[in-house]
Amino acid sequence: MICQRLSPSVKTVKIFEDFNENYLDIFQHSQGINSHLNPDRVRITYPGVGAAFAKKSRQLEHFSVAFLVDACHFFDACQPHWRWLHLRSLALTSRMMCKDNPLPIRRILEAAAQSALHMPELETMTVWNGAKGEACAFTWCRQDASISWRGTWDFKLHPSVIQDWKKVAYKYARHEFTVNEELLTQEIRSHGDAIQYLGLHSVVDDVSLRQIRRENNCG
């Protein structure tokens, strides 16, 4: 797996697995002679890949991976005795974080808080999702001692999630803990729009983001 042979000198890893939903729609409806090869409409990720990256993340300072790994696999693999002594920023996606799926969202964010308790240097954590028509992001910011939810549908963070993150704030932040919730009203035409309107510019190269939006939104 790609992360296993990374030199120990590597401190920053940013991985963004791109896709184009127009292509995926065509694959989905194709009757071509090689259609048995066609990819899934929504990427199905392997728990083993999430686990390998979780293990590797303990050596990193900045880690962002989009779509190649699911946050639920990442946090599932985290062991109670693990410590992330250097990790300062973490950004993950989960395809489970979508409308009408409040329970998995709650589970992921609770697990994220459990891991964050063992990340003494962590400044920001973002767990997000984005595709045509839907976008959401949960963000922890230590400087503001805040958790924020931004999404394209009405959503309230579960009290147990708020409680778990309050413990993280109590342990590592200096300000009073705050919770923000915001409804996104922009039209999300692609995962590129999701990144743009969620303000997650650090998860992908900035030129790449402009290309993604142009290719997807004009196609």
């Binding site: 790609i2 920053t12 896709f19 071509g32 090689n34 392997y46 142009r214 004009c218």
Partner: protein
């Protein structure tokens, strides 16, 4: 008339700052040592190299090497015509393109192996594209080919329709491509290097961005990274593979099965049977067309 050195240093700095915003300023480096230093710093800072320029890279003096912050090796792959643009790549094309990529990367690693670490770090970026990618079903997409500019209101390459060797009725504007046409640029790629790659101490950052549709497999990528012992940062933007069997294999970390019952082997055999001759023929025609153009 006052000469250059009679101007106050602040004024000279303003003039030089304005100068480096222009392109093609290399000839002015001969004006003076001061101009040379400023111009070389700009010109060598970010190098976008076609594999044919690697000889020039090899000739850079040690002082100039120290000015280089970013090397983008932009590997041009074989062209293809309408006779094969609706099909997945043939085995002969895969081998030929992989050979082009492996040789270019190997040459770059051997050149950079002699470079010293410089204080500011060195970024190594790889890209591979076929000039034909944007001429068929992917008009308006970014492949990293020379001349692409993001930010202009017009998507790139549509103008090429008038000069390219193909029928103009391609692209999403004109209809739906076949799934094999969609798969074509995203070929999963395993590179075999003729020699063991040397260790490159100078590179501190590795970049492979989304314009590179050709997908290097995890083993190849890990091997490239393993040869960069000072690597501190990786930015990697692959694509979801357009072949589920390869995606499963890459995710699970399993090596390809070599028995004849495996999916991938069947798939490869399928390519050999169905496409090899027709595409070889198409490429020959392609060559003739280009020569006659």
């Amino acid at each position: 008339m006052p000469d250059w050195l009679s101007l106050p240093p602040e004024v000279r700095a303003i003039i030089l700052k304005l100068l480096i915003h222009h392109d093609k300023i290399a000839p002015y480096a001969t004006v003076s040592k001061e101009w040379q230093s400023v111009i070389e710093k700009k010109n060598f800072g970010h190098l976008k190299l076609h594999p044919s320029s690697l000889n020039s890279l090899e000739r850079l003096a040690e002082q100039q090497q120290g000015l280089v912050k970013h090397i983008w090796l932009n590997i041009e792959l074989k062209r293809y015509t309408c006779q094969s643009c609706r099909r997945i790549e043939s085995i002969t094309s895969i081998y030929a393109n992989n050979k082009i990529m492996a040789e270019a990367i190997m040459r770059l690693y051997f050149i950079l192996a002699n470079w010293k670490q410089n204080g500011g770090g060195l970024t190594l970026e790889l890209n591979a594209y076929s000039p034909s990618d944007s001429e068929h079903w992917f008009q308006g997409c970014y492949f990293g080919a020379p001349g692409e500019v993001i930010g202009s209101e017009c998507p790139p390459q549509r103008g090429l329709l008038t000069t390219a060797i193909h029928y103009p009725t391609h692209g999403f504007w004109y209809g739906t491509p076949t799934d094999d046409a969609l798969r074509r640029p995203f070929e999963p790629t395993t590179l075999n290097f003729q020699e063991e790659l040397p260790s490159v101490q100078a590179v501190t950052k590795f970049l492979l961005r989304r314009p590179c549709r050709r997908q290097l497999d995890p083993l190849t990528l890990s091997y490239l990274w393993a040869k960069l012992p000072q690597l501190g940062e990786v930015l990697y933007e692959p694509w979801q593979l357009s072949e589920r069997p390869s995606q499963d294999q890459w995710d699970s970390g399993k090596k390809p099965h070599l028995d004849s019952s495996s999916h991938k082997t069947n798939h490869l055999n399928y390519r050999l049977r169905k496409y090899d001759l027709s595409e070889t023929f198409a490429e020959r025609q392609d060559g003739q067309n280009i020569r006659g153009f």
